[in-house]
């Protein structure tokens, strides 16, 4: 029997997630049966219905149980990596299940001064980062050492060479509001809709943009999807601070936080240590 090594599985899962697919693997980490620990089986899903099975746990019945667990995890929007127990023919198997979700993408439109820290923070957060500009001197490797992709594109058709999908997070920070607007319209017309569309701009600019969108017949539902002014309210002023505010918003959307200071949410001092507190108990 040809085993699938830890290296093989790691490579398979990483490559699948990087190319927009998802993958799950189980490894036997404990068993009442001797000599089976360390065996692996993996499921990859490259496209809608393209499922691949790799490796094996040593018996068809055990493989079937492992595949069931992996499919359940992959079918759910969220799953918890960790231990699962399977009992089969009087034997007990402890499996460690892990899942890789498709890598999320951040597309920074405009390669100016906000784009630089944004690409950096986006990369730190695990996004596959694309930086796009119409000026070849701006979207350069020197300026964006940790971007995954640097693209030269015309702002009238910015996403021609970038396939957009439900894992795309688009941040519009071009050098001019007209370009931001052109790109915004393209992003809004994308189907399926991207996960996030953020646009830089003051309250006044954003209002002007929305007026124009309404004039052009865009529905309020569509306009509501635009994150503008962009980012969480942390008083950001510098490009670096703005990048942090946007990054915080991206994390909040993915993880489902409130965006409020935890101090105020938890109120530990007030709740547990203040004698005048009303909800002491």
């Amino acid at each position: 029997m040809s085993g699938l090594s830890a290296a093989d599985v790691a490579e398979l899962m990483l490559a699948t997630a990087e190319s927009g697919g998802s993958a799950a693997a189980v490894v036997i980490v404990g068993s009442s049966k001797d000599g089976v620990t360390g065996r692996r089986v993996a499921v990859t899903r490259a496209g809608a219905n393209r499922e691949g099975l790799h490796g094996g746990l040593g018996s068809p019945a055990l493989d079937a149980a492992g595949v069931d667990l992996m499919r359940q995890a992959l079918d759910a929007t969220r799953s918890r990596d960790g231990l699962r127990e399977v009992r089969l023919d009087g034997e007990r198997f402890e499996l460690y299940l892990e899942v890789r979700r498709p890598v999320q993408e951040l597309i920074v439109v405009g390669a100016g001064h906000i784009a630089q820290p944004m690409a950096h923070v986006g990369s730190l957060l695990g996004f596959k980062v694309t930086v796009l500009d119409d000026r070849p001197d701006f979207a350069t490797r020197e300026r964006f050492p940790d971007a995954d992709r640097l693209v030269r594109a015309d702002f009238s058709d910015p996403f021609a060479d970038i396939p957009l999908h439900e894992r795309s997070h688009i941040l519009l920070v071009t050098r001019g509001h007209k370009y931001d607007y052109d790109c915004l319209i393209r992003a809004l017309r994308t189907d399926p809709p991207p996960a996030y569309i953020g646009m830089i701009g003051s309250r006044r600019r954003v209002r002007a943009t929305f007026v124009q969108l309404i004039d052009e017949g865009f529905s309020m539902d569509l306009i509501e999807r635009i994150h503008a002014p962009v980012g969480l309210d942390i008083g950001a002023e510098t490009p670096e601070e703005i990048a942090v505010a946007v990054a915080a918003e991206l994390v909040m959307i993915q993880r489902g936080g409130t965006g409020l200071p935890l101090k105020g949410v938890e109120r530990i001092a007030e709740r547990f240590f203040s004698q005048t507190s009303e909800d002491e108990k």
């Binding site: 040809s2 290296a7 490579e11 360390g38 231990l83 990369s123 695990g126």
Partner: protein
């Protein structure tokens, strides 16, 4: 585990495999309470390269490295239960108030574990 950690560890695993080196992989498979690293964090113990990745550092990681050396010699996987609950107020970097369960397995360049057993 971040995308960057995943890439670094995967590259290290593949490099060891391609060079024909036997290594040991440690994976946190369960945690209870507060631990420095969460489920899925991995560390590769490569006799040539040293350590790649981390399962949390400090005393807990030392226990895992000890186990890794046994596993490298024996070829038999182990489970290490690392208890970090000793003293929550000692402020030691390794004390986080949690327990973690680590799977420590030999990684052979050619075949899966069962073939050696």
């Amino acid at each position: 585990m971040t995308r960057e950690d995943d890439r670094t560890l995967t590259e290290a695993l593949a490099e060891a495999r391609d060079a024909g080196r036997r290594c040991v992989l440690a994976t946190i498979v369960e945690t209870k309470g507060s631990t420095p690293r969460k489920v899925g964090a991995r560390m590769l113990v490569d006799p040539t390269r040293g350590l790649v990745g981390t399962v949390g550092g400090g005393c807990g990681e030392a226990e895992v490295i000890e186990s890794a050396h046994r596993v490298l010699a024996s070829g038999i996987p182990e489970r290490v239960r690392v208890d970090l609950t000793d003293d929550l107020l000692s402020w030691s970097p390794a004390v986080c108030g949690g327990i973690m369960d680590v799977f420590v397995e030999p990684v052979s360049p050619t075949a899966a574990t069962e073939d050696r057993k």
